[in-house]
């Protein structure tokens, strides 16, 4: 984790290069879709932000769709207790 603390950030109003590099490297782990070619140390801040926003929106849509699907698939909420045990055993 970076050694910079929030106290010092008031002197750097923009997203610093260090922060961008940190963000990009972490995002690369989380988002295999981002394929930033490392031309230099500088990465386009707006592109990374855009990718991040797109990704979050995509995840939100997925949660919404899955909620839809689950509500249609579940016969009754009571069955959760049975399925909960099955799910638990599957995920362990």
């Amino acid at each position: 984790m970076s050694n910079r603390r929030s106290r010092q950030s008031s002197s750097s109003p923009r997203i610093s290069d260090d922060q961008m590099i940190d963000l990009v490297s972490k995002l690369r782990l989380l988002l295999p879709e981002i394929n930033e070619r490392r031309r230099s140390d500088k990465v386009s801040a707006s592109k990374v932000l855009q990718e991040t926003c797109n990704y979050i929106r995509k995840l939100h849509r997925e949660v919404d769709n899955l909620s839809d699907r689950l509500s249609q698939l579940l016969d009754s909420v009571d069955e959760d207790s049975q399925e909960a045990a099955v799910i638990r055993s599957l995920l362990m």
Binding site: R4, S6, S9, S10, P13, R14, I15, Q19, D22, L23, K26, L27, L30, A45, S46, L49, Q50, T52, C53, Y55, I56, R57, L59, H60, E62, V63, D64, L66, S67, D68, R69, L70, S71, Q72, L73, L74, D75, S76, V77, D78, D80, S81, E83, A84, V86, I87, R88, L90, L91, M92
Partner: protein
């Protein structure tokens, strides 16, 4: 078992709890829309509860869902009562972006609107940290729900 698996495990424990609580607090039988809302709501609360009160996004999400549906407010409070006020708002200074480019500023605003509580965060360092944290838990939520949906379509005839 890695950390991400532990996150998913914790999430599913919380989700089962919130599902039962939401279930017991609304009248049966629910129509499809009501059930979808209950599932979405319980899932969001569970995701935030998994993170408990340690991040802005999780507390903002609880507060937001608590406002929308009165029935699940006691659910939210019951789960978070132990994590109450563990973290004060650390983002204090308002940074004026005189030198920042318009595109970065606009997309930062967009990001703030997507991350719960993001509109409260002026400090960019903090916003990035919250975003990364939020994404991890969002993915866990999606992964678990996807697994349950797949399982459910197999077991339900």
């Amino acid at each position: 078992m890695n950390t991400y698996d532990m996150v998913k495990q914790e999430f599913i424990k919380k989700w089962i709890t919130t599902l039962h609580m939401c279930d017991s607090s609304v009248e049966q039988p629910m129509n499809v829309t009501e059930r979808k809302n209950a599932i979405r709501l319980s899932s969001d609360i569970a995701m935030a509860a998994t993170r408990s009160g340690a991040t802005i996004w999780s507390r903002a999400l609880i507060s937001r869902t608590g406002k929308n549906k009165a029935t699940c407010k006691p659910v939210a409070h019951r789960i978070l009562k132990k994590a109450r006020n563990r973290m004060k708002k650390r983002c204090t200074t308002i940074t004026r972006n005189g030198g920042a480019k318009m595109r970065v500023r606009k997309r930062t605003e967009l990001l703030k609107s997507l991350v719960p509580g993001g509109e409260l965060i002026d400090n960019k360092d903090y916003l990035i940290r919250e975003t990364l944290d939020y994404i991890v838990y969002l993915r866990a939520q999606v992964d678990v729900m996807r697994t349950v949906a797949a399982l459910d379509s197999v077991t339900n005839k």
